[in-house]
Assembly symmetry: D2
Homo-oligomer: 243 residues x 4
């Protein structure tokens, strides 16, 4: 019983559109904001959730039960993919430094509430329920650059960001072309049970919408920062002090 | 604060000697038993614990916290090593088939009590306590062939086992030379805290002694089988019926 | 270092106001909606998250480490409170039946995405991080009836709900007076470390905002239901068919 | 499909006999050892495993899935029983102090290897596999005093222990009469699936045999202590220095 990737693609596109169109952060960028603090706030949350991706990906493999060939293929995918994701948070941290922040990563503010909810959900669906469901997250995450690139280009233009200040996006876009093919391949191999497509679709939608809530939290935090109400993010004001 | 591998080696050798000398299974083999049911019982337990090794190895990486270079190196080791261990239980199963059993692996008897205790302990020390401690298991597991080979040679001789009936040992011995060097290397990189050596030594000793208890459970099960008291292992009697 | 409950109260009131004022579901009720499907949709999500509360509450106690008197007091609180919460989802299910739905609880639709994110977050903060932080959830949950009662009274009036159709609220309001005092008492006993107040505040705010996202998902689901786009909730249309 | 408690009783009696008859510690006590260090070593291990019993008991309830009446009854049993077990390790610690040791409990030596394996196994079977299986541990633990009392009486006589130095046993024996009835009652209610009896029997036997390995580790540690080879237990020599 093969998964219909055309249906997943439709769901992904519809949900991405909702997320981007409903995001104040995206609107501000589209309207030409040149405030690099927006980018920095986004990189900090990216640093946080990215630091968990390899770990929750591996957890899926650790929780698998059985020794069938299908299980072993999926287990290998999980550990291989986890291995490739180790340390990607440092690309986001590199970009933070490249735009002028020199704080050690251990001293970054903790994740915002909706970033933590996103992280929590990824562990939850990795350790419980249908083992193939996390592929719904990989499905959109590995092809997200098509949706994000136009926004990033706007940001790059108005915030005058150089490629070496955007390595998380640039490098990820390259890496993720292969990953995206891997995801579709592994789905065709392991998501063969009747319930699998619905489980994948559910996680696809939920993780994408949680990303939307994370973007909205970044917008809230930006407003607090501008209003002088966020002591923990105040160090980002250094980015707008220089002429 | 470097770990003293000479001390770990001493502990390993002393504990191996205790385990082998205290094992009735080993004694029977050394005394020339030609009963392949002993080998089959051992392969079944090997199938069971081996099916968990990749999973509890990956769990160590999933439970790591922090983004320091040391952490990321160790995380990569965990996922890389997990990836390499996926499916090794099928070598044990292959050997079971090669000596004449044709039962599907899903229909093998469940693990014996002390095999399950061994498995449980590996998950416990992988998910809790000092994250480097599981290296104490890898430390001896990856060099175990030096200690086991003489026993296996005796078994091979008296049970007339061909190399293609001993692939778990033969192939593992090759694989594990590299792994053993990896373990020492990763210990030198990540086990740098004062408590790390004791934690590694503790797990080294405990896992080796639990292996001893597993061997003793195999001997008990063999006695029950011979006495006609083990319905779940009775299918192994096929191995001794043919002339 | 005592926790400032006055500060927690301020945070709770501000966040509750944001959640209620930002909720379309609440607005519809305040505007006099008489559509019981809104209530039913809310009860279904309540059934789902309530079925996890005892379990994630107990998890906090299971994850505690140490045998100090402070730890043991908190452990007792966790298991006692968990014991009291077992089965509360059946009050929500009772109310569903009381308004006319006769579907077995096993056949209710699965939780909506943001309900599942809420559940996932509760397990996450119960098993990881500062062990006292889940008290931030209990803090508002046990006094939530002050904030919800006016909305429920509106709903009761316009949807013509009898008390026996609102047992989850009515009984919970009684039970929770004691629980609220328990929460403040246990906070005074166990939240004595410098970081505890911030951890409690963080979880208070995040869980309340996730509840807001759950309410918004109920509004979305209602719109889909009305538009004929939700096969899984279509059985709720029975509630509006009778004259 | 009711569980045959007569069969469980037979298995328990046979396994207890094996454990006691195979234990050097028990033999030394039966032979009249007056060395209180044996008792102290036992109390230290008791302190350790007892400190986990409430936590792994609660974990069973946390891992249950479903809202059926049977599930909820079992969940209540788990949390109620967990609540009653909180802090029982302090009885063992009390007895250590009562025989003359005044070390804070935080400074006791860590658990011996087989005590830790026992603890690990209890968490494993509480969080994985058949949810009713942990009742196999409760089954014997709650009636163990019948088997242990004769040994304890010998120890009390030759080591001249007063009742206030044996509170863990004395109080537990009282408490556990009720608990034992509870265990049989809950088994009759919740262990109704065909596989349940085997799962309970398996855990009964395994935990009892792991207790035997723990007793053997105490004997080993005693030998090391007497031989001057255990720095971590050397403080127990105070017990034999006084005239």
């Amino acid at each position: 019983m093969a998964v219909h990737t055309a249906k997943l693609d439709q769901l992904m596109e519809r949900t991405w559109r909702e997320v981007l169109d409903g995001s104040r952060l995206v609107r501000w960028i589209r309207e030409g904001s040149s405030d690099r603090r927006l980018y920095a706030l986004y990189l900090i949350e990216t640093f946080h959730y990215a630091s968990h991706n390899a770990k929750n990906q591996a957890l899926v493999g650790s929780a698998l039960q059985g020794s069938s060939m299908k299980h072993l293929q999926y287990m290998k995918y999980c550990f291989k993919h986890a291995l490739e994701e180790v340390g990607h948070e440092h690309m986001a941290y590199h970009d933070l430094r490249a735009i002028g922040l020199d704080r050690p990563f251990e001293a970054l503010p903790p994740p915002l509430p909706m970033t933590e909810a996103f992280i929590a959900y990824l562990y939850w669906i990795s350790a419980h329920g249908n083992p193939v469901q996390r592929l719904g997250y990989s499905y959109w995450a590995e092809t997200s650059y098509a949706f994000i690139t136009p926004v990033m280009q706007q940001a790059a233009k108005h915030m005058r960001l150089e490629p070496q200040q955007m390595t998380f996006f640039v490098k990820h876009a390259d890496i993720d072309d292969d990953h995206a093919a891997d995801v579709k391949h592994v789905i065709s191999l392991v998501a063969t049970e009747p319930d699998d497509e619905a489980a994948i679709a559910r996680v696809l939608e939920t993780t994408l919408r949680l990303t939307g809530h994370m973007l909205e939290d970044i917008a809230r935090e930006y407003e607090r920062l501008v209003a002088g109400e966020s002591p923990s993010s105040a160090f980002l004001n250094d980015l707008v002090k220089t002429p």
